[in-house]
């Protein structure tokens, strides 16, 4: 393979000395080294990314497990004084935050899931590829990048202007969260509607079914599992939001079950508020039951609950997507 090579058409083509192009042994070795180096780097990238993940989960688990018990889950923060024990022998808990989180998230769902689904229905089923539809589609994408604090400011300003200054309520938080949730719901629904075969729409229309019923009973029904799992993932995303709720839903130590009036605490806000207390006071005459570091311990425990909730939601979302997907042939 070393001799100068004549070409197939030696009369026209330049003669080529392939030695010039053949790799030197050292270069071949260098390439191999580079290949291995890149492989190592890539694996390393992965390992490096795992470190913080494991650290976050581990820290939360270790710190959070200490105070996570039934008492913590079944009480709110009323009558919790400094680092002192409450009558039930606990140190207060997150019941009000769990209720707040559920209601506010539920509120956000009720607002954003119908809107999101109907918007996707408009984009896929009605608008075709019209210019308006393309614009909306683009804006939905853009909307999914709105910073959560801006969503909070928006809800705050809107309620201040429409309802009255200084208004804080769980519902205001729901509105802020819906702003973050709608684009996710629209996008997953769009994806799901796109993969519903056109055959089914035509089959239904050909049976003399109106378009509305075709969409609700055939198209959405077929896409249901995808939409449900997408919505669950959207919930998982907003359930951990803190900043917008600080300025919209406020903070309260007792249980407020009324979404539309009065302040409400959610789990992430609870975590932040307890973190903000940092230390609790224990007067000199307090017994051994008084714990100075209790606020941080509560913060970690609530964080653990939050992570568990988010992970469970994620898991459910995935399972729904997998198990209830319409069987393919």
């Amino acid at each position: 393979m070393d001799q100068p090579q004549s070409s197939p058409k030696a009369d026209q083509a330049p003669a080529i000395d392939f030695d010039k192009f053949s790799p030197t042994r050292s270069y071949t070795a260098a390439r191999k080294r580079k290949d291995i180096a890149m492989r190592v780097l890539i694996i390393l990238a992965f390992v490096v990314a795992l470190i913080p993940l494991i650290s976050v989960l581990w820290t939360t688990l270790v710190h959070g497990a200490r105070r996570l018990n039934w008492d913590f889950l079944s009480h709110n923060m009323t009558n919790v004084i400094g680092g002192n024990q409450t009558p039930s022998g606990g140190y207060g808990g997150i019941l009000h935050a769990i209720i707040g989180t559920l209601e506010i998230t539920l509120g956000a769902m009720v607002i954003s899931i119908p809107i999101g689904i109907m918007c996707a229905v408009y984009l896929i089923e009605y608008a075709g590829g019209s210019k308006l539809a393309r614009t909306i589609h683009l804006l939905v994408d853009v909307m999914s990048g709105i910073p959560s604090i801006v969503a909070g400011l928006f809800a705050y300003s809107m309620f201040a202007i429409l309802v009255g200054p200084g208004t804080l309520s769980g519902f205001e938080g729901s509105v802020a969260l819906s702003l973050l949730m709608i684009p996710t719901v629209v996008k997953t629904t769009e994806e799901m509607l796109k993969i519903v075969p056109n055959d089914l729409r035509e089959a239904s229309l050909a049976l003399g079914v109106t378009k509305q019923r075709t969409i609700t009973k055939v198209v959405l029904r077929t896409a249901l599992s995808g939409i449900v799992s997408g919505s669950i993932l959207a919930i998982a995303r907003v359930i951990g939001e803190t900043a917008p709720l600080l300025m919209t839903a406020g903070y309260i130590v007792s249980t407020n079950a009324n979404l539309f009036s009065g302040e409400m605490t959610t789990l992430p806000v609870y975590v932040y508020q307890e973190y903000s207390k940092y230390h609790a006071n224990c007067p000199a005459d307090a017994g051994s039951g008084c714990v100075t570091g209790i606020p941080m311990e509560r913060a970690w425990s609530a964080a653990l609950v939050l992570i568990i909730v988010v992970l469970i939601l994620n898991l459910i979302g995935r399972i729904v997507a997998k198990v209830f997907a319409p069987k393919k042939k």
Partner: protein, 259 residues
């Protein structure tokens, strides 16, 4: 009983593209009419104008008339949804609703339209439609299994059952057997033969033997060149079409010399 269809000066557009030009055609009641022709000549397109399915493609529209027993389907006051209840359609690939059982599939046309129907009536209807589609014996023991669990040929017959269950006057079929194996094809062809006593049937097929076997009349569509509009080249009763066509293009086509 089936109804007859008259197509007058029908031009069919996709947006500004004229896909099929000036079709004039009489489709006799309670007969099977086959549409044949080379690919892209507009067979499916014409078929889909007969129940206004054409319109669901964005930008698609027609000029001209399609008369169902004398009543123009494209008249202003006609709702396409009503048209489609009178004119049923079966598609190339079987498409049972994947979320529904066999029984629900058959009842889909009724149920989706929010009609209340007593359980016993529903049972009767299911049996009647499935028998009509020659499927009853094969599925009567598993009506609650999902429709997509059936074989391709069974699925296609299920789709036919689903269509007849809404009592249309006319049945349109777009290459109903092209995705089926020979045995299933035979079952569907037999079924068409039986159905024509109750319905007017229009069938698009690529398979000339099939047209010869099942159709009473045959319409041959053609197109001059790709990108040109298709048109109805020749219409005749089936034996004429295949044995003694009075049209040169049709003759070349049915004898397999082009297309």
């Amino acid at each position: 009983m089936g109804q007859q269809i008259d197509v007058n000066h029908l031009n069919i557009y996709y947006g500004s593209f004229l896909a099929v030009e000036d079709v004039n055609l009489h489709i006799a009641a309670n007969k099977v009419t086959a549409f044949i022709g080379p690919s892209g000549c507009g067979k499916s397109t014409v078929l889909r104008t007969l129940d206004r399915m054409h319109e669901i493609t964005p930008g698609a529209h027609v000029t001209g008339e399609v008369l169902l027993e004398g009543k123009n389907l494209y008249a202003k006051d006609v709702d396409p949804v009503a048209v489609r209840r009178d004119v049923g359609m079966v598609f190339q690939r079987p498409n049972p609703f994947p979320t529904m059982s066999i029984r629900q599939n058959v009842l889909a046309g009724v149920r989706l339209n929010n009609k209340k129907i007593a359980k016993s009536d529903a049972d009767d209807l299911v049996e009647w439609a499935l028998r009509g589609a020659n499927l009853w014996n094969e599925v009567k023991d598993r009506l609650d299994n999902p429709g997509i669990g059936l074989s391709g040929g069974q699925q296609q017959r299920l789709c036919i059952a689903r269509t007849v269950a809404v009592h249309p006057q006319v049945l349109l079929m777009d290459e109903p057997c092209s995705a089926l194996d020979p045995i299933s094809t035979l079952a569907v062809e037999d079924l068409i033969e039986e159905l024509k006593s109750d319905y007017t049937i229009v069938i698009v097929t690529h398979n000339m033997q099939q047209a010869a076997r099942v159709a009473d009349y045959t319409a041959f569509f053609n197109l001059k060149a790709v990108g040109q509009p298709g048109h109805l080249e020749y219409f005749a009763d089936t034996s004429t079409m295949f044995n003694n066509p009075q049209n040169e293009e049709a003759e070349r086509y049915v004898s397999g010399r082009f297309g």
